[in-house]
Symmetry: C2
């Protein structure tokens, strides 16, 4: 029983790193066992299949992450009383915890944030399914707050802007490292708080745009 958790979380950790950097479909089980230094059959023994492994990798961080998002939102709503929570606060609750993951190397760090962004943008239907279930649940909870903070915004326009928001957020999570190249080293993706603040103010202005 002593080595079970070691092997299991060892696989999860290695899979998280590799899934995040090359994408789940481009990562082979043999690369994972090479990094985790376990036997190939251990993956199927502990997780059943590659798909279930990805599911486990996602669930390990995503469930607490979404709980944190909802808790933050409820906190802001309590403070706001019967009034609307200001849009920047709502956005902060939505994108902040996700982006801030990279600040906490112990809890998955940058690796998982990249993986999450990558999965959101992944064409593969199985991965889509895993993500959409979680995302719909969060969006359903955030939608009333967003609509409240954005009065006079037609529902159709609202969904379009959520779509743009998801794109900007996912791309930022998945591949901000690219920004270092594009900017010629001027931008530093490691400055997470700066990143959150910049993204929130960008989204805040975009969502409030006059249509």
């Amino acid at each position: 029983m002593k080595t079970r958790k070691d092997t299991k979380t060892g696989i999860l950790d290695a899979a998280e790193v590799l899934f995040a950097s090359r994408g789940p479909n481009a990562t082979s089980l043999r690369q994972i066992i090479g990094k985790a230094k376990v036997n190939l059959a251990a993956i199927h023994y502990h997780f059943g299949s590659k798909e279930s492994l990805l599911e486990a990798v996602l669930a390990r961080r995503l469930v607490p992450l979404n709980a944190e998002r909802l808790a933050l939102l409820e906190d802001y709503e309590l403070t706001a009383g019967k009034g609307a929570v200001p849009l920047p606060k709502v956005l902060e609750a939505l994108v902040g915890p996700a982006l801030r993951l990279s600040r906490d190397p112990g809890k998955g760090g940058e690796r998982f944030m990249r993986l999450l962004g990558r999965c959101v943008l992944e064409p593969d239907e199985k991965i889509q399914g895993l993500i959409n279930t979680q995302f719909h649940y969060v969006l359903e909870r955030f939608r009333p707050a967003l609509l409240k903070a954005l009065p006079n915004l037609p529902p159709e326009e609202f969904f379009w802007r959520i779509h743009f928001l998801v794109g900007a957020m996912a791309h930022t999570m998945a591949d901000s490292e690219r920004l270092r190249d594009i900017s010629g080293g001027l931008c530093n993706p490691d400055d997470t708080e700066g990143m959150v603040q910049r993204l929130v103010s960008f989204l805040n202005a975009g969502l409030k745009a006059k249509s």
Copy 2:
């Protein structure tokens, strides 16, 4: 000599469709030849390799597309004289031609737009290389116009916002079909002009946000 172009463009067309819907790496050559109804060896005879095939698929549409973007921008700059081109116009020149591709089914249509968005977000380094070369070239040309339209915006902030812009644009190009589901059928991704207009006004407001 008569059938050469038929086979060659037949492969390009089939590859474009399949690459766009499942992603290049998730598409096998055998799926392509099945759709194009040609022999497997024809791909290597005409293109040399799978990677070169993707390169050819991209180049066929991307070169004229980027030319159109630059032509539009120069047109606006001519009209503006020595003054700055208004930001919405600059954005229109940047994202309009790409999104509008879906209006022209003869010239590749929605299929290529999806592929392009997908390639921008693709982790694979070889694909990144193909995209970055083209994108850098365009961005270098658009940067002065964007900076001119956005005075008082610090260079660091500028690059961050370009990054958000790319994310929103690529996600919109790659997978607006998803919006139909999320919105419960309320939003119609086939309304390309509406899509362009909404994205431009969203990006316009986001780029102008007070930092």
